[in-house]
Symmetry: C2
Subunit: 373 residues, 2 copies
């Protein structure tokens, strides 16, 4: 797996039970996955030489992020390396314009969008679709970075100027008046087996996911089925092998596709305890061509809350208290240095009483964060 | 953790989520835990030098077996190393005579026993307690090794002669006409917090555990509570820190203590998916002095079946079929070379229908074994 973050760390953990030997390409020995992995290569995912040295001896290469350049993915394939998901699929998780064009071509419901050359084009877009307008960097954004909501031409001009300076290409998207955000995680194997997890609700703060509720409470079963069908259709159409996470807006009148990721995803961390097969094992099963596992819930409700870094770096001193206060809480720490707002861990609780579970998860996450972020 | 077997492997897996840095002392790089651990020391657990080099830099030392000599445990403690469980406790998992004497002194129900000097003493024991007599090596037995059931004086003489040649000390135990075998797993922390898992039934074949049913079906709640109370009492009395597994005979008229282990135990593998906190995480929490986790079941019934090696070493070719046939099956492989009768993995299933779960677990384990053992 290319990438040494928490997604690789949790995938490594999931590789142990099925006996899948896993190597990680990390940038530094103190990265989250590098701290625990038994087979770490240090290197840069932007260097083809490093990627080649890493891939030598691997049966298949996969990813914990979408930042490996397309030309390197294609060079690895030309070398005979099995890359899953492949570059043709992965492009749609790397490039938001390519994703929008492809999904629109499929007839999948998306917000209105347009490629933006300058601030005047944002104003023209707003004349058709209204203010505010969502501007997104076509490449490289994550966790709210690379996304700006602009309310008028002045704000649009500021963002366009910043983007031009940074060399970023932008797209505009209509601002969707959604009721909530939901996500569907599906897996697809090389033999085209597909498996969908229950639809979840994701709660965002400042563009960062802070809480996931599984299943999405009160979601119309027809909407849930349609959301799963759309995600499986996208996975098949794009030729995904591995996981596909599809973030959607629930508008109250159907769904619109927001973002795609082709890897284990924050909206699926609840599956470690909350689904019969975790997303991490499922991704591995798909990329090494094993049959996919059952995706059903292990409890009526599962709540996951992200632990964000706060002002105090001594998070491990505090988690003793969290464990003592709530012996049923599942605590996952990523071994990362604490920085304000950084995802450093998550907690999961399972049971029948959704409001009670949410309170437990948020209390623990708030206590672990300690102070403002 | 001293020892590189599957218990250390699964403990390492459990150390990742709570962010506990774990080092393993393995005898060889291809041992089960050494294959996946990010911090492996190679060495011999019988060498004090190797133990000292391994312990250097560790906050606490624990074990995946009970074979570290007492004098080395005491030397490490004299060096200032925190050893959990400590030698005074661990003695009772190393030495069956010391265990029987201590438990009898506590008034805990045990089979009748006697130290055996020669075959005549076996016959004398049988005159008081009847044939057959169970002979056990005081030290070093496991998985049916070091245990002999002798039916008469001739068989007793044979075993005593073998034991004398091998330098083994024996004890005799009365052969218990039990209805079934059960096991209780408890944890105890340095702060004397205790936690008991639900009582399980263990099914043995040729002295090897082949199946574990959680909770023990149809067990009288009073007997279950008494079994848990006894295990917690033994843990407290012996000063255990970490896990204590207590194997018992259910005689239909109460319980008798059979064996003790002070580490994660085969009778607790079901807890990985079947209890809110796995035995492996619980052991770590206890030895690093974190609050203990909840032990409750995550499903009405959990069945674990051991996968034993069969005649065909290509077990990984077959497990694709097992995964395809039963997507809800949890498969755990230990990365060990296949040898007939060797524990090379286990499978776990969870749900409501105990006979159905048992059939699924046994079918999968039988298919993975393939052929006779």
């Amino acid at each position: 797996m290319v990438g040494g973050g928490q997604l690789a760390r949790m995938t490594y953990q999931a590789a142990i039970a099925p006996g899948i030997a896993m190597r990680v390409l990390a940038a530094a020995p103190d990265e989250s996955a590098a701290r625990i992995c038994g087979d770490v290569h240090l290197g840069d995912h932007r260097s083809l030489d490093d990627l080649r040295a890493f891939a030598d001896g691997c049966d298949v290469v996969t990813f914990d992020h979408e930042h490996v350049p397309q030309e390197h993915l294609r060079a690895l394939e030309a070398d005979g390396v099995l890359v899953r998901p492949g570059p043709d699929a992965l492009l749609h998780a790397q490039d938001k314009l390519a994703m929008r064009e492809r999904l629109s071509g499929m007839g999948v419901p998306c917000p209105a969008y347009a490629k933006i050359g300058d601030a005047a084009e944002v104003t023209a877009f707003a004349e058709r679709h209204g203010w505010p307008v969502v501007l997104k960097a076509v490449r490289g954004g994550y966790d709210g970075k690379g996304v700006w909501v602009v309310r008028d031409a002045t704000e649009a001009a500021e963002v366009c100027a910043q983007a031009a300076t940074a060399g970023l290409t932008l797209i505009a998207e209509a601002h969707v008046a959604f009721e909530r955000e939901i996500a569907v995680l599906v897996a697809r194997s090389p033999y085209k087996q597909g498996a969908a997890y229950p639809v979840v609700e994701t709660v965002q703060q400042d563009g960062i996911c802070v809480e996931v509720l599984a299943p999405a409470p009160g979601l119309d079963p027809d909407v849930a089925a349609e959301a799963q069908r759309l995600a499986l259709e996208i996975a098949a159409e794009l030729g995904v092998v591995g996981l596909l996470a599809v973030e959607m807006f629930d508008t109250g009148d159907g769904v619109l596709i927001n973002e795609l990721a082709m890897r284990p995803h924050n909206s699926g961390h609840w599956t470690i305890e909350g689904a019969r097969t975790s997303q991490f094992e499922q991704h591995l099963r798909a990329v090494v061509n094993l049959p996919l596992g059952a995706t059903r819930l292990t409890a009526p409700y599962v709540v996951m809350a992200n632990v964000l870094g706060g002002e105090d770096p001594h998070v491990y001193d505090r988690y003793v208290h969290v464990m003592a206060a709530d012996p049923g809480l599942r605590v996952h720490m990523y071994g990362k240095a604490v920085r304000p707002g950084r995802k450093i861990g998550h907690v999961t609780v399972l049971g029948d009483d959704l409001p009670g579970l949410r309170a437990r998860a948020r209390d623990a996450a708030d206590y672990l964060r300690w102070g403002t972020i």
